[in-house]
């Protein structure tokens, strides 16, 4: 009985430790390139937008400094390498007044700064920026930091801001490693056929002359 009680006590202590290790209300945004569907899947979405990548940037208050992690992942089949790019299309019309009050920073997994400006701007994401070349199953992270000034006015209470980010993928077929066999024969067959045709034509023209 004593042992059982101790065991449960240990379980409860472990559960409490685990609970403490997980930051409260921290949700990741996810950008997944689905190679089969040939499209992106954005998660988790929100009640405001099904493609929302900012679950942790809700209900912000003056003086808040919040961080949003976003993971970009390639789930295409093996043999498909992808280049993933990002650009910002800026704030949706009508929400720029609110967003211009907020300061936004975006850095990539190597801590390279991609964006550092008021949230309604496009700044360093005006043009396509390569986030990385990802093998099948590969991923890279983005970190978004939002700073809300203490001085922001009560007139923005309940305001909603929309920021559109466009992602682009380029699929690059990976060349198979050499195995001793020639597995890609069609280009060679085509080249050989072309040579034969040219030789035949040359002979035909020569005879006509």
């Amino acid at each position: 009985m004593k042992r059982t009680v101790r065991f449960f006590a240990f379980l409860i202590a472990a559960a409490l430790l685990l609970a403490g290790a997980v930051p409260a209300f921290a949700y990741k945004g996810e950008v997944v390139y689905d190679g089969n569907a040939k499209d992106f899947v954005f998660a988790p979405g929100s009640e405001y937008s099904p493609t929302d990548l900012f679950p942790d940037l809700k209900d912000v208050m003056p003086g808040d400094s919040l961080t949003q992690k976003i993971t970009v992942r390639n789930t295409a089949d093996k043999g498909v390498r992808v280049k993933i790019y990002l650009r910002s299309l800026g704030a949706q019309e009508g929400t720029d007044d609110f967003l211009s009050q907020l300061s936004l920073k975006v850095v990539d997994s190597s801590n390279k700064e991609l964006f550092d400006a008021p949230a309604d701007q496009t700044d360093g994401l005006t043009d396509w920026v390569l986030l990385g070349t990802l093998e099948s199953g590969g991923e890279t992270d983005l970190t978004v930091q939002l700073d809300v000034p203490v001085t922001i006015g009560n007139e923005f209470s309940g305001a909603i801001g929309y920021i559109d980010w466009e992602f682009k993928v380029e699929e690059i077929p990976i060349e198979e490693p050499p195995t001793g066999d020639i597995t890609t024969v069609w280009p060679w067959i085509a080249a050989g056929a072309a040579v034969v045709i040219i030789v035949v034509l040359f002979i035909v023209f020569k005879r006509k002359k």
């Binding site: 945004g29 950008v31 390139y33 040939k38 499209d39 992106f40 954005f42 929100s46 405001y48 937008s49 493609t51 929302d52 990548l53 900012f54 940037l57 809700k58 209900d59 912000v60 208050m61 003056p62 003086g63 808040d64 299309l89 949706q92 609110f98 967003l99 907020l102 949230a119 939002l146 809300v148 203490v150 922001i152 009560n154 923005f156 209470s157 309940g158 305001a159 909603i160 801001g161 929309y162 920021i163 559109d164 980010w165 466009e166 992602f167 682009k168 993928v169 380029e170 699929e171 690059i172 077929p173 280009p187 085509a190 080249a191 072309a194 040579v195 040219i198 034509l201 040359f202 023209f205």
Partner: protein, 184 residues
Amino acid sequence: MAKVKLCFIAFLMLIMSLISFDTLAYYTVTSTARNVITFGELPSEVVETTSAGTEFPEEGVYVMPGDIVSKIVSVANKSEHPFYVRVKLIKASDASELSAEECLSITTDTEHWTLMEDGYYYYNTAVPAYGQTEPLFREVEVVGDKITKEQAGSILTVTVKTFVVQSENNADTPFEAVGWPTES
């Protein structure tokens, strides 16, 4: 000879097209994510009950001079954030000859609330998310000797106006807090 040249050019073009085979195999897709940032709100509610545990009637109650009316007033935090609250009590009468200030006597809780020089009652501590303050007052006394028979049917009102401000990223006490909403 011209035909031979033509054949040679065709051959070169074929080779070039084979070289560019890999480049043409690139596949591109674009898609847009609409990201959303929302600014918080601090919804609050004035809770008015009676000593019987019932809600204070919205339409009010009939009173006689000398009555003591049970009206327990507190403020509830309906948001996910703690806030500071201050309250203004406004007494009024629909009869010009009847002074509500003199007719209505309210004893406020001075342990949890502090009346400051600006005329607001400040709750001394932050109200936690979804929490509630201690009552500001519990009853209203209708001062008998200030009301005459001629003033029967008059309406006396006590308006409770609340103002809240976030306590996070703000001062340690409500008395030093900044960002209080302005009175409209």
